[in-house]
Amino acid sequence: MTGKALELQGVSKSFGSVQAIHDLDLEVAEGEILALVGPSGCGKTTLLRLIAGFETPDGGTITLRSKVVANGIITLPPEQRGVGMVFQDYALFPHLTVAENIGFGLDGTPAKERHAIVAEKLALVGLQGYENRMPHELSGGERQRVALARAMAARPVIILLDEPFSNLDADRRITMREEVRSILKGVGATAILVTHDQEEALYFGDTLAVLRDGKLQQVDTPEEIFHNPTNESVAEFMGQTEFLEGEVTSDGIQTEVGLVEQRVELPHGARVQLAVRADDVDINPNINAAGVIRERQFKGAQNLYRVMLPSGQILHSLQPHTRILPPGTAVEVLLEPGHPLACFHDGEAIATK
């Protein structure tokens, strides 16, 4: 990882009165794969289109491999940026063959060389011999691979993938994302993947950037974002999280289900929220306990229990598939995460001492 492939500084974009991107800074290193994740409507596709040159930023600077492509005064058109794009609908030209599609961006290249590049890219995505097929003769996964080969053919500075797996069915989606990732990593490509699926983002990105309401919430490794979200909205978005009320005491944080031995830099008596996931929670049947199982969801390998506490607070607990407790069972709820829980005060993360 040497230089920066992409750098955004203070980029803003609004459509009428809607602020889609708000004063955003972002860097992507050469060879890095960044997963840009956020709920729908958060501005992630707009950000991608700003980088590709299909939208003009209102302000801020976009730099691609140390070449300024947009700075509020000049805006380079898409064809002069060297950005490869893989669209959600693949956008294969329906009237051109697979080879013509892949070679479309190579019109200045001599025919012989072009053929070689096309063959090489087809081999890379495992579609040797598909040169003369038409797009409509391909399956969804094959189209996806052609789109990827096409985006890579002109050796772009960066490859942008806009929700590329959302048109595939669930099985194909998982195999395709493994395949696409290993192809990109294999050639050391720099890429940004836009997705609304946090699981996909956790798998795909070397780095994760969480976007919400046009602002970057957190940019970090997947593990760091999962375990130490900077604020409640990131924690909530990263999935299956309940927020449990607690009060800071000298021994830790006192909650409805007991004391969590975790010390934070807040005065005693301060109210905090602990981010609790289903795997942090254990349950034991106990007639005298106040928690009640409301529902059991059978997930195959596991049972997911929904438990209601006397205050109305809901917690989920993940249990082995062999452990079956009927709804209505009174249970004691134990919070034994084995690691510090993400803790928030007024929506912002609080460091554990």
Binding site: A52, E55, T56, P78, E79, M85, F87, F93, F104, R150
Partner: protein, 544 residues
């Protein structure tokens, strides 16, 4: 006409609801915008001029325009439009239901045959009715010889107009009804049956309410057809606006009052159009999610099918078989009488020439406005495309008159030249080119163009290598549509043609005006044949 009208719905939709909008580079935007605005302004010129002429009219002219005879004309026009619409629904509703929902034998044949009358230009239809039932007509003579009936009740005036226009225009409501019946989600009717409603009550409570939008839009198409029609009412000598305007212009050379009447007609057309667009917009919202390819259950007619067959056969006989037989009768008579076909080829050549030029010019004029409206966001970018639709408010006779005034006063060098004729055609038929181009451009995903831009191609290069090849079907359909409607156009051709320049349409007209029925047969047949082509295309598409 139907295809072009379907794009009208977008007129009332806010730009943000339309797919595929993006901001582009400023420079390209303005050149596109200027080009399409130039076209739009050119189209609006005659209307503006007409308006000025009317406003300049003196008090005497105004009292003529607003006289009781104008009121009577208005009454006749509205009466005819309503009567034709009502009669058309009565004919079309049973046919639509029979051909989509029942086990009627030979359904495909009836579908084709009952839709065909719409290819007959109205003046040809009127000519064939006059040539069969009129004083010297075939059937009139037959009645005289066989039954000794010396004179049939006169077909001229209201009854003849109603008869002809109904038979020519009921297919418009038939097609919208058929489409609605086919597109209807069958689970709605099934749910109704499941909730204990019988077949009749289901039809009244579930099916018919869902047909209402189709019924409304089909009716309005027919009303527009009647308002704009010049040929049929003129041959039938029924004084609706179009005929009164023509007579006024032709005999009295009273141009200001002709212009005034034309303006009233435009207002009438506009109000119908307004209702039409409103209904269509609502109709598109009312259509819920449909369940893919699932077809509704076929109703078994049992012994009722003989009655159904008789009904379909009767309509086809009256609307298609008799007129065509009469046409061939006069054709053969003419040839036997030594009618020379030479001038016909010249007229046909003229028709093809002006129509082809118009089609090409319309395509070139439509492209900038369509690209602008589909690919660029913002109110101002939608403006030129919307302006091209002014022609929908303009019956051919009105456009022709506006050009006559304009040409006589400001551009005498262009007056009665091919240039001016083609310009008038352009105003009348540009919406059809715009409509089909727009439909196909909306089907080309914008991501294709963006992918090409991202791969290093410049906008024009992308348009030429990606967009245009994918637009080709729409381009061809649009040009064919413009070509064929231009072939049929009568009043504009009649008024604006250069001296001694005759087309198939004017040849039919002048022959019929002088009751030379045999002379009109050959050009009429050629017109019917050329107009059948797009119809055949539409039907092939529907059956795919």
């Amino acid at each position: 006409m139907t295809e072009a009208l379907s794009t009208l719905r977008r007129l009332l939709l806010p730009a943000s609801r339309q797919p595929g909008l993006v901001a582009g580079s400023k420079r390209r935007l303005s050149s596109l915008w200027l080009a399409s605005l130039a076209v739009a302004v050119l189209l609006l010129l005659p209307v503006i001029y007409l308006l000025i002429r009317v406003l300049q009219a003196d008090a005497g002219t105004w009292s003529l325009i607003l006289s009781s005879s104008t009121l009577a004309t208005l009454g006749r026009t509205v009466l005819l439009a309503s009567a034709v619409t009502l009669a058309s629904i009565l004919v079309a509703l049973p046919i639509a239901w029979l051909t989509t929902r029942t086990d009627l034998p030979l359904k495909r044949l009836w579908t084709l045959l009952t839709a065909l009358p719409m290819v007959i230009p109205s003046y040809v239809g009127a000519y064939l009715i006059v040539a069969s039932l009129g004083p010297r007509g075939v059937l009139a003579r037959l009645a005289e010889h066989a039954f000794g009936i010396e004179s049939l009740p006169s077909i001229y005036g209201f009854p003849g107009s109603l008869y002809v226009l109904t038979l020519l225009s009921y297919p418009y409501v038939l097609l919208t009804l058929r489409a609605a019946l086919q597109g209807m989600d069958p689970s709605l009717e099934e749910t109704s049956r499941g909730l204990g409603q019988g077949p009749w009550s289901t039809f009244w409570k579930v099916t018919l309410p869902q047909l209402r939008p189709a019924l409304a839009s089909g009716s309005l198409l027919i009303a527009l057809y009647v308002l704009r029609d010049f040929g049929a009412v003129s041959i039938m000598r029924f004084n609706t606006f179009t005929r009164v305007i023509y007579v006024q212009y032709k005999s009295a050379f009273d141009r200001a009052s002709a212009a005034g009447l034309a303006l009233i007609l435009v207002l009438l057309t506009l109000s119908i159009l307004y209702i039409e667009v409103r209904t269509r917009t609502r109709a598109s919202f009312e259509r819920g999610a449909t369940d893919g390819g699932r077809k509704p259950k076929v109703v078994s007619l049992g012994r009722w099918r003989w009655l159904a067959l008789f009904f379909c056969a009767g309509i086809v006989t009256i609307a298609l078989l008799i007129p065509l037989s009469v046409l061939f009768y006069w054709l053969v008579r003419g040839i036997n009488a030594g009618e020379t076909l030479l001038p016909l080829w010249q007229a046909a050549g003229n028709s093809v020439l002006v129509s082809a030029i118009t089609a090409l010019v319309a395509l070139l004029a439509a492209i900038p406005a369509v690209v602008l409206s589909v690919r660029r966001a913002g109110k101002w970018n939608q403006l030129p495309e919307r302006m091209t639709y002014t022609a929908f408010a303009l019956p051919g006779i009105v456009v022709a008159l506006a050009f006559v005034f304009f040409g006589a006063n400001y551009a005498p060098a262009l007056y009665q030249t091919l240039f001016m004729l083609i310009l008038a055609y352009l105003i009348l038929f540009l919406p059809q080119a715009v409509g089909s181009l727009q439909t196909s451009l909306l089907q080309v995903p914008q991501s294709l163009e963006e992918a090409a831009r991202g791969m290093g191609r410049k906008p024009w290069n992308v348009f030429w290598h990606i967009t245009f090849p994918l637009l080709r079907p729409g381009v061809l359909a649009g040009m064919a549509l413009v070509f064929l409607t231009t072939m049929k156009e009568l009043p504009a051709t009649l008024i604006l043609s250069p001296y001694n320049f005759s087309t198939l349409a004017t040849r039919v007209w002048s022959a019929v005006s002088e009751a030379f029925f045999a002379q009109a047969a050959a050009p009429a047949l050629l017109l019917v044949l050329t107009s059948s082509l797009p119809m055949a295309l539409i039907l092939f598409k529907e059956q795919k």
